[in-house]
Structure formats: C-alpha cells, structure tokens
Symmetry: C2
Subunit: 160 residues, 2 copies
C-alpha cells in the first residue's frame, strides 16, 4: 500500500465509522424520540437528521462529485434554524434521504484515486490551492467527519 | 511537500483546529458555567474538561511519546462517571492541566517524522499491525479529534 492509499483509507474509514455510529443511533430512535430536543430549547433530532443530510449532500459539489440530490434542503436545514420552517419533511422521508445521500457519496468516494483526494476542493481556486495545498478533498472530508461527531454528541443527549 | 507530509499536516491541522475551538469555548466560560450540566442529568462541563484532559493525556502512551502527566485522572474522569468521585480538582487546576497536556502533545507531535505517524500505535502488536497497517498513529489521532468534536457539540448546549 502506498502512503497516499494508506492515509486515504484511514480518513475514509474514520468517515464510515462515524456514519456507522450515526446510522445505528438513528435506527434505534422512535418517531416520538425524533421530535425531542437534544437539550431544552435546542434543535430537535429530526432537524439534525435533515441538517446532516443537507451538509453531507453538499459534499457532492464541494468535492466535485456531481450535483446535490436535495438542493432544497439548504434553505430548510442550513440557512434556517429549527422551527423556522414548518412542516419539515417526514421522519421516514428524511431517513430515506439520509441513506441515499450517504450511499451516493460512498459510491463516488470509491471511484476517486488516492491522488485525486489530494487535489484541491471545488470551493477553492487553483491559485489559492497553489499557496496552500492542504486545502484538498481530504481536509474537507475530515472537517465533515468532525461535524458529524459534533452533532452525534448532541443527539445522544436527548431524553430517552 | 511529499504525500506523507501533506496528509500528516492535514490531520494535525484538524486536531489543532478542533483544540482551538475548545480552548476558545473554555476561555469564555465562568466558574458557574463550568458547574452546569450539558443537558439535564448529564455530565457537567467541569467533568468533560477533566475527561478530555485524561483522554488526551493517554495519547502520550498510546502514541509512544512518553509517560502520562496525570495518570490519576483515568480513575476520576474515564473509568467513573461524573459525580462518582467528589470533589473534583478545581476549575483553575483543570484548565492548567488541559493546557499543559495539549502543549506537551503538540511539542511531541512536531518531532515525529511523517513516516513515524504511519507506524503502528503502542496498543497494537507488530503481528496485528502487519495484518492491518491502517491501525497507526494517524488513525488514533483522527479518532481523538472526533472524540473532542463529539464533546464540544455537547458543551455548547449547556445553558448560558
């Protein structure tokens, strides 16, 4: 295994592992639990499921892997806080979209070569990338893995 | 920059960036806020500060960088839940230990060569590492970065 293969494998494994924890958590929650706030006055789990789906969907464009599957989620789950837009899509719809978005990404990740992971991401110009080659696809994926962990830590706090 | 240098740089940058967010958050909290629970009946922020310090301190041994600075924290902040052991060290002591542990690690990280980051971690035998070379120092650091993000997401929820 080359160094590039090894490090790409590690970073994708960390993403998959964190996603696996999220999937497991979401699969145990009842409909009623999805409507609970993670702490008094904070986001409901349902909103966070949509928020994570929207942010992951955005990886399609920022990593140059294709179009977003649900561009309309940006306005509902990223630009606006929970309860600004009602009603939200149903729990079963959101769970379906979550699975579809993550499956699409994993399929596309598998087709990228290690050296392509080290290329600049799409929110960055060639000139900026030349100045800072650490702003590549891998650093974006690391950042989104941490974002997922951040919200997982919150979802686990919601009352059972 | 070689591929190994580049990926090590990215992973350490993600660690530093997440630590920076934690430092900023801890620096804004009053003594009273450190005693608040992140959600009703859950860990107090003070306990999480000790927990994160203990887990980061453990990186010294698992990464083969030296002895733990506060081995006694394992029993207080890892093996036992919040409120099992009272009193906890004071907030000012814990903040000092937090800073000392993270500074010590960053100093030691800076002395590791990129290829040393790709070597097995110390909780793993040579035989197991030969079977799975992704179980290296970098994967441990990724895992601890996600652990920090997970608890940061919780700390931010505590009532202001």
């Amino acid at each position: 295994m080359t160094t590039a293969q090894l490090t790409v494998t590690i970073i994708i494994a960390s993403w998959k592992n964190t996603l696996g924890r999220a999937d497991k958590l979401f699969s145990t929650l009842t409909e009623e639990q999805f409507l609970r706030e993670v702490a008094p006055g904070k986001n409901r789990i349902l909103y966070l499921l949509g928020h994570l789906t929207a942010v992951h969907d955005g990886l399609h464009t920022i990593l140059g892997l294709g179009e977003r599957m649900h561009p309309e989620f940006e306005a509902i789950f990223v630009s606006k806080p929970d309860r600004a837009i009602e009603p939200l899509p149903s729990i079963s719809e959101l769970k379906k979209y979550w699975t579809e978005v993550n499956s699409s990404l994993l399929e596309k990740f598998a087709r990228l070569l290690p050296e392509e992971w080290l290329q600049r991401h799409m929110a960055m110009s060639n000139a900026d990338y030349a100045k800072d080659p650490t702003r590549n696809r891998l650093s974006v994926l690391l950042s989104r893995t941490n974002h997922l962990s951040y919200h997982l830590g919150q979802i686990i706090l919601a009352p059972k």
